[in-house]
Amino acid sequence: MIDTQYARMQRVFKRVLTRPRIDLPLAGGLFMLAIVGLLTLYSAGDSHLALVGGQAGRFVLGAILMLIISRIPPPVLRNWSPWLYAGSTALLVVVALLGEGRGAYRWLDLGVMRFQPSELLKLTMPMMVAWYLHPRQLPPSWKDIIVVGVLIAIPAGLIAEQPDLGTALLVAAAGAFALFLSGMRWWKIGALLGAVGGMIPIAWHFLHEYQRNRVRTLLDPESDPLGNGWHIIQSQIAVGSGGTFGKGWQHGTQSRLDFLPEHTTDFIFAVFSEEFGLAGVIGIMLLYAFIIGRCLWIAMDARDTYSRLLAGAIGMSFFVYVFVNGGMIAGMLPVVGVPMPLVSYGGTSAVSLLTGFGVLMSIHANRKMHE
């Protein structure tokens, strides 16, 4: 009995490795991005191989997770969706309770490892929205829109309260994209955006003082040369001095002289821009566009509503990472803790991103048959 089960597990594992259900163009794009990320990290991290090795290890872990998830058929994922959503939201509540009166608190300590439950929501949020919209008449009615709005607002609010505005934004965007792709009427979108726009002054009131300062600093970086303004000014100097073709790999001066803060994590793209110039920026943007496009292609080919919405939402939220991080580097957006996907140093985000792509691989493997 145990033997046969063990043998079965072995067979499955072998299949995962030998006949992976992957979409080669997507996997190829991700692989190239990972290589670019590791090269930039090597340069930004003062040529520390340990740093690069650690990140490469996380990529491998993420890739294995991706391969495993790609074996799970979308209907199974769909059945799990509400439970996964409820579970990850419950963990957020636990973190909120544990963090009572302790300032910024995002981590759940499992003893062996610490992780941020908010990372889980990046995937479980679009799953939940897609699950909810799957059996319903589309385009969604106001009632469905309101239900989805509540589903988004609860975890996003909890994350924003931690306070982690960047992740809250990503989670909310993932849910909102699923709603957008479901065919929500344009006038309804307009009305909703108008309402959200009207709430900005109220939201401003609820922001933490340090978050408000980041917005203020964006408008006038010179006002705070020791704090946030420093980040913005130095990041722009790094980017601007890179020019068209860049200073060359490992020849950036701003991060090397430590003018650039956090140059291996949130600000790594400034190092990239300095060393590879506008040409490099355009190149990597094309790569990102290709990955997002391929995601949407897979979504269009998907078999059912759930898969379509989920695949599309994951692909489009990838864009939010790129836009928010790139905008921050270039001084267009305030300093918000959003990494450049697969380039910034940091394990949780790499693993959770690749897990999301695993879902896409699964959807691709179970696409609808043409003709």
Binding site: P135, Q137, L138, P139, F177, F180, L181, S182, G183, P225, L226, G227, W230, Q236, I237, A238, V239, G240, S241, G242, G243, T244, T253, Q254, L257, D258, F259, P261, S273, G277, L278, V281, I282, M285, Y288, A289, I292, G293, L296, A299, M300, D304, T305, R308, L309, G312, M316, F319, V322, F323, G326, G327, A330, G331, M332
Partner: protein, 664 residues
């Protein structure tokens, strides 16, 4: 209108999705193009400008730490000063081989292992171009030696800074506290922008609780550095705003007198002005030299302080908890009056032993045979246990703890220091929470004389009597009286409004208890303490037992040394009795009797206060600690003497009855 389709139109949905996905992708491409456009703006259109800025990126902001606020006593004597000193700083980015540097520089300027450890911690937290202190307080000799060898150590420099000095070190160590070097934990806790360039932070005492005011706001300057990173010139300076100066309500003369009164015997005293809660003296003996901590205390010094038997680092005034003994009696009497359980003229017959009606347990008076018939004033004056046993029973534990709780027993007084102990206010709830046991009537009886579970800090007792002396108006004790924004500005008083309405409903009640406490000083247990003092003092002694009596040794060996090892001596007093301006509580850890041993300490504090108020030193029998006079006659030392399970856990039955008759 079209009728709603009842089944999903999957083909239509698929087409709808396709359109949306294409629109979405178009929007994304638009977003990416906008992003790239911004990069074109920076990298192509403004490239030249940024290249120049990048090459000239030798202008670095450098934080200028604010000068820490000074701390003065009531009359302007400087208690915490900033003095210029020199330290060795390292700019990490200019050092190619840090371990080698640390090894080599040790030959020029001796660097301790503590210094290296602190340096490495701070190194991890700093940007590479920000200098990190390596060794504080260089001697002149060390500065000279380094100056000669400076060329060998690029990136290392001698830098002037302000360091903290406490000219009256030990007198205020437990009040002012001390600052210490910032460590990794501090850097995580504090606002990094406000603490740029700062090397010290308040660690204990007022330095810690007023950290926010004392610290100030850093300024910065933009400096141009050369290729080696050495400053070439300062381009712009934005000066820091220094921290606020603090004025204590303590006068150094009273404080010194209070400390000297203890003659190095462990104990603590707190004096408070009943009219506003200002602390007039606060000492914990023994004390220590706070200057040792400022630039990192050496390992040997620290071990010596922490292992010393009389624990000089322990703030007894704030954290030491002791059974209050008879000092609670006047307040209990007040409770009896306020609740209408007693009238001042009600009398009780003290026969030497009190038994709970219907129970065989009995509790002793101090004097064999008792004090006879006593009313309230006489009971306070003679500290008659029987009177208060009965009063406590009549009040009941609930009313007793409610009333005493109003005087901040069992909770912090709210003094402006961090780390105050709460002590224990005996109550049903406290016992249920702590021992999961019901309350016994016998525990109520001994609570009436300040024994049993009772535990109070000198701060609490002083606060309670200051509140009483101020006719019941409660003020949170305050050590800081005023703050000063700049050298030229006038000190602004810190507001300290009462924390609530008066705790005493009927003025007559106050007068009766006050009369009892005056009687203590004129013909009661505190008779010797007040002799020759210009004002009428009201007071109460207290002698609490530290251990349960297990043998007859207590009754056989009633000499001072033996009793001192078993007792805590308390004395509380306020004066002038008709219009109180100061209330004092003092505890002597190894005092044989309250009035005999703690009384003189209180008197010395009051003497110093009179002088500080502009009076002349009161004359009278020297209230010396070791009385040359014959041993006090028994009527003076009648004090509680039952067997409480204090300080030793509460496993046994709380009050051991005197096995009637067996004890002599």
């Amino acid at each position: 209108m079209l009728k709603r389709r009842s089944i999903k139109d999957s083909r239509g949905e698929s087409a709808l999705f396709r359109r949306r996905a294409l629109v979405g992708f178009a929007l994304i491409l638009f977003g990416l193009v906008a992003l790239v456009t911004r990069f074109v703006y920076l990298q192509v259109l403004h490239h030249d400008e940024f290249v120049v800025r990048s090459e000239n990126n030798r202008v670095k902001p450098r934080a200028i730490p604010p000068a820490r606020g000074l701390i003065y006593d009531r009359s302007g004597v400087l208690l915490a000063d900033n003095v210029p000193a020199f330290r060795l700083e390292v700019i990490p980015e200019q050092v190619s081989d840090m371990p080698a540097l640390l090894a080599e520089i040790g030959a020029v300027v001796p660097i301790g292992s503590d210094d290296v450890e602190a340096f490495k911690k701070q190194l991890k937290q700093s940007r590479r171009f920000e200098s990190v202190p390596l060794k504080m307080r260089l001697t002149e000799d060390e500065i000279d030696r380094f100056a000669v060898n400076r060329w060998r150590f690029p990136g290392v420099d001698v830098v002037p800074y302000l360091t903290r000095r406490y000219p009256y070190g030990t007198h205020f160590a437990h009040v002012v506290g001390y600052v210490g070097r910032l460590d990794a934990d501090d850097l995580e806790r504090l606002d990094p922008v406000r603490y740029k360039g700062t090397s010290h932070v308040g660690r204990s005492g007022l330095e810690r609780s007023y950290e926010d005011m004392l610290h100030g706001t850093p300024g910065y300057e933009l400096v141009e550095v050369n290729a080696d990173g050495r400053t070439q010139r300062v381009l712009e300076t934005h000066p820091p705003v220094p921290g606020k100066n603090l004025y204590l309500s303590i006068d150094i003369r009273v404080q010194k007198a209070a400390e000297e009164a203890f003659d190095n015997r462990p104990g603590a005293a707190v004096a408070i002005d009943p009219r506003n809660g200002q602390v007039l003296a606060m000492v914990s003996v023994p004390s220590f030299d706070p200057n040792l901590f400022v630039n990192g205390i050496s390992h040997t010094d620290y071990t010596m302080l922490t292992t010393a038997e009389d624990k000089p680092l322990y703030n007894r005034a704030l954290r030491g908890v002791y059974p209050p003994g008879s000092t609670v009696k006047p307040l209990l009497a007040l409770g009896g009056l306020e609740y209408g359980v007693r009238r001042p003229e009600d009398t009780v017959l003290s026969t030497g032993e009190f038994c709970i009606p219907g129970q065989s347990r009995c509790y002793r008076d101090d004097e064999r045979g008792g004090n006879g018939t006593v009313n309230m004033v006489r009971a306070i004056q003679l500290s008659t246990n029987t009177y208060f046993y009965k009063l406590a029973l009549d009040l009941g534990i609930d009313r007793l703890s409610t009333f005493m709780g109003k005087f901040s027993f069992g909770r912090p007084t709210g003094v402006d220091l961090i780390g105050e102990a709460s002590g224990v206010l005996p109550s049903r709830e406290w016992k249920a929470g702590r021992y999961k046991q019901p309350w016994f009537p016998g525990e109520t009886v001994i609570s009436g004389i300040g024994q049993g579970y009772w535990a109070v800090t000198p701060m609490q007792l002083s606060h309670a009597y200051a509140t009483f002396a101020g006719h019941g108006t409660p003020y949170a004790p305050r050590l800081v009286m005023a703050t000063q924004g700049g050298v030229d500005s006038r000190p602004a008083p810190l507001a300290n409004p009462p924390t609530g309405p008066s705790l005493i409903q009927k003025p007559g009640d106050w007068a009766a208890v006050n009369q009892g406490m005056i009687a203590v000083m004129t013909g009661g247990t505190g008779k010797t303490v007040g002799v020759g003092f210009p004002y009428v003092i009201a007071g109460k002694s207290g002698t609490a037992e530290r251990y349960s009596r297990t043998t007859n040794a207590y009754d056989e060996r009633r000499n001072n040394a033996y009793l001192a090892s078993r007792h805590r001596a308390w004395f509380v007093a306020y004066t002038p009795a008709e219009d109180p301006k100061i209330a004092v509580a003092a505890v002597l850890e190894s005092g044989a009797w309250g009035a005999q041993d703690a009384g003189p300490i209180v008197r010395k504090i009051l003497n110093a206060w009179v002088v500080q108020q502009g009076g002349t030193l009161p004359v009278g029998p020297p209230p010396s600690a070791a009385p040359a006079s014959p041993a006090p006659d028994p009527s003076e030392v009648i004090e509680p003497s039952i067997e409480p399970p204090m300080e030793s856990g509460g496993d046994d039955i709380p009050a051991i009855p005197s096995s009637s008759g067996a004890n002599p």
